[in-house]
Amino acid sequence: MKKNNIQTEFLKISTAIQRNKYISAISGGLGSLMALTIIGSIFTLINSIQISAYQDFLVKIGIKSYLSLPLNLTTNLFSVYAAFAIAYNLAQQFDQDGFTAGTLSLMSFLIVTPLVTLENGYTMAIPFSWLGSMGLFVAMVIAIVSARLYVFILEKGIYIKMPNGVPPIIEKSFAALTPGFFITIIMLVVKAIFAATSYGNIHSCIFTLIQVPLQNIGSSFPALLVIMVLMSLFWFFGIHGSMVVYSVISPVLMPLMLENLAAYQAGEKLPHLITVQCLNFAGVGGSGATIGLVVAMLFSKSKRYKTLGRLAILPSICGINEPVIFGTPIVLNMTFLIPFIVAPATLFTLGYVLTIIGIMPPLNGATVPTGTPIFFNGFLMGGWQFTVFQVIACIISYFVYLPFFKKADAEAYAMEQQAEVVE
């Protein structure tokens, strides 16, 4: 059956993605840093409310400089944390010690990052320039390479052999040192190679050649639209669309979001109009903009959908819609395939256009905790304008789903009536 073949293909792809150690190390590593990005976001939001009386107050009671610290030490140091977290994750997947791999990766990342001596001649300092989102690609590459090397050397049992007569415990501790030595030497060579190029260091090179072009392509309208449709399609086949797609795109697209957040805190103009955060335009009620469907269910004729609607409305308000996806069901249900793709695509396009022409301000890059209710999360990400957009989005979602839902409801009602007659 054709549908089954397509589903199998999607399932194969998602399984391959989720089983791939490197992709899941990156997304798992970055995911484990969520607490940091959320904390940085929340403090930034508190710190950046643009009401001059409020800002004067913050300066007056002396806490303004404190409130800006979390962002500077989370988002603006993101690559440092990521270098550790991703390496940790990858090593653990190979059943090796993540902590050691993580620290070696962290050291490696710092080795290849510019280190300066201040004017006084003796204080060493690392400029933050490459430690935040701009260094993320390098952090990912270094983490993967160093962790993989670490695992490889341990698994192959390569170690510096001690002459006979040396106590085994010394031999063992040297064995543990071997991966570290190899990695260090390799990283020093890498640093030297890039120092000889016009870029001066690996960050500058990778950022210019890879990160910037990829981010620009990835944050374009067609790319984001494709990403969104893919997410809906994965969910249609019963696969967690957001998880699978995000694990591939977020390392590429996250830095732009973080750059916006840093600018937001500094009170500067946001550098990027469109980032991956813009997928939130369509996320009212969860993937597929299902909130309209749930609202329609509350007023349904059939008992079945009325129950589901009541069950699903609160989670939907918090952006969680598995009950809707599996309970309607939307999975493999041709009745709802069209609205499931059209609704979010429409909302995304609308939000995109409104942002480009300047009616809506660009989203600020803050990471809002999953489960934050609609309208609140909109306000946190884009002010009252985005909240108003969300209201409109709910209405649009409702009308897009309505004709399709009416059909499903009528069928369900008819079945229920028949069942009652039989009884």
């Binding site: 989720q18 089983r19 967690h240 998880m243 069950l311 009950p323 999975v331 999953t370």
Partner: protein, 101 residues
């Protein structure tokens, strides 16, 4: 003897709702079960403390891998899509109890 049921889904949110309902049913029926939810990433850590693992339908892809790893030690199953969607705690609990026999 206490039976420990472990549910796993992607983020844990939707599954935790189902868990609440299962616990309510278990209480009414006076069953001796401990039911917990966990995100997929933590399954390996908690598998020692479970008697059965039930996966949310969107984690179907993980079932095969988990069966290979732990299938000999404990039953592993994917929750039926409709039961999950409708958060039918009673049905899911029944499935678990049957597999635990």
């Amino acid at each position: 003897m206490v039976k420990r049921i472990l549910l796993a889904c992607a983020g844990g949110y939707s599954t935790s709702m189902l868990v609440d309902r299962m616990r309510a049913v278990a209480k009414v029926k006076g069953l001796d079960v401990i039911i917990d939810a966990t995100p997929e990433s933590s399954i390996n850590k908690l598998v020692e403390q479970a008697d059965i693992i039930m996966l949310g339908p969107q984690l179907g892809h993980a079932e095969e891998g988990l069966r290979k790893k732990y299938g000999s030690k404990l039953p592993i199953t994917t929750i039926d899509m409709m039961d999950y969607g409708m958060m039918d705690g009673e049905k899911v609990l029944d499935v678990a109890l049957k597999l635990l026999k």
